[in-house]
């Protein structure tokens, strides 16, 4: 905005303000009504929906669990699922969210035109609507990535024990196993044994790359069963 435009804005704003009403009681009344509505909605949700079921007590050695975030993080979660290649994961986890946040925070410093009416700012309005639609869509997708089906693969009877551990540890929440499991964030494991030997699998479970939890806390016999099972998937 040029200096003249700034002065013009301030002058017009001054006039609109003069024509306005005092904050108290007019705006305060509206705010109070809104506050009552907010409180009523919060209490209503608490009464109708309850405090939410607790799952089992947190257990680092894992039993059944689904690592799902609160709904307002679904769009970030889904971003992780959409972006597959391991070398690009950092884009989904940190890169894109950080860039978006910085971009949003600095908005007034690159959008400096004097126009304020949304229908006369086509680029800003379009981008705004697109961003909202994008977040809504990703949130929707994230909300529908439900807990995975039970993993069932064709493996020798000797390693069947490992399949129980896979299902207990919720591997399917992030990995695909044949028909079961979710498509991402982690890579598909249907044929992992063809790519990694037992040592490589054990190493990955102990020192996972990226966002995967560490499984070294599993009891040794469960851990070995898991490794042997995964190694048999070819």
């Amino acid at each position: 905005m040029k200096r003249a435009e700034k002065a013009q804005y301030l002058r017009e704003y001054q006039i609109l303000k003069e024509q306005g009403k005092p904050f108290f009681p007019y705006a305060v009344l509206k705010d109070s009504v809104m506050a009552c509505i907010v409180l009523a909605v919060i209490i209503g949700m608490a009464v109708v929906l309850g405090a939410g079921e607790l799952q089992n007590k947190a257990d680092p050695t894992t039993t059944t669990y689904t690592p799902r975030p609160e709904w307002y993080f679904y769009f970030l979660f889904e971003l992780l699922r959409v972006i597959k290649p391991p070398e690009l994961v950092i884009l989904a986890t940190v890169g894109i969210p950080t860039l978006l946040m910085v971009g949003v925070a600095l908005l007034p410093f690159y959008d400096r035109g004097p126009e304020r009416r949304p229908e006369r700012r086509p680029i800003a309005t379009t981008l705004g609507v697109a961003a909202i639609a994008m977040m809504a869509w990703l949130t929707y997708l994230g909300a529908h990535a439900e807990a995975p089906d039970k993993v069932h693969m064709n493996v020798p009877a000797a390693v069947q024990k490992g399949e129980v551990v896979v299902n207990q540890s919720g591997c399917g929440a992030c990995h695909k196993f044949g028909e079961a499991g979710n498509h991402g964030p982690g890579p598909e494991l249907s044929h992992i044994g063809a790519r990694l030997g037992p040592d490589g699998i054990a190493r990955t479970l102990r020192n996972p790359a990226g966002v995967m939890p560490n499984y070294s806390a599993l009891p040794p016999e469960k851990f070995d069963a898991l490794v042997n099972y995964l190694a048999s998937l070819r």
Binding site: Y9, E18, P22, F23, V38, P60, F73, I90, R116, P213
Partner: protein, 275 residues
Amino acid sequence: MARRPKTRPKLPLPGNNRDAWKDPAQEGNGQVSMREQVKEQTIEAGTGIVGWVDERTGASGFLRGFLFRKVPKGTNWFYTLGSATMFAFLSQAVTGVFLAMYYTPSPTHAYDSVQHITNDVFLGELVRGMHRWGATVMIVLIFLHMGRTFFFGAYKYPRELNWVVGVVLLILTMAMGLTGYLLPFDNRSFWATVVAVNITGTGPILGPYLADFLRAGSEFGGDTLTRFYAIHMLVIPGLIAALIGVHIYLVTKLGTTAPPWLKAELKEPLERERV
């Protein structure tokens, strides 16, 4: 009763201020009843205390400026979203204090104390539900408030800084959601937090350090929960409260925007005025 003359001094000093404005003629024949007298004295005492405080703080000038400032023409219900967000934050603060009275931030007892709140404490389930859904309501309101600001062009000159403060408040509120998620300490919250901290750890340069800071070490351990608890109930709420103060100070100083379409209506008379 005598009407108070308009010349009455604004800030009555304690003690000698009554006779200055009282009509002596009235006093002579008036049988002032006991009730009237008590009423008078109560009002006197009230203004006396208010005057005393005001003389030492100057609060009345500030309050007058804050309460009776004008909001521009056309201010509508969209303009209540900001205060509604703040109200949701206050609700979170109050319910959070009550939860903190019963919650035990230790890995062995956290889960049990949350169950104790839900099952045993009077209205515990309601308060926990209010805290949980209050977070959702607050996030929704923040985004609505942000949308109003965006589509009304309210982030433009001279309110750029307040937009930045608002974005920081949004990030802090989401950080509240993240840190609070671990506290019930069930499997879902535990493993979701493991993943979230791992995500932090993949960040460039600062990422690993930040992840270690959040975990209180290189592994999830006993101190992780207390650290999240301290961040959730001390660090971030303090920052949010302070920044809400800055946010409102700037709103009061700069004024709320008028709806953008009012500008066009005004252009003509303005130009005529100039000619």
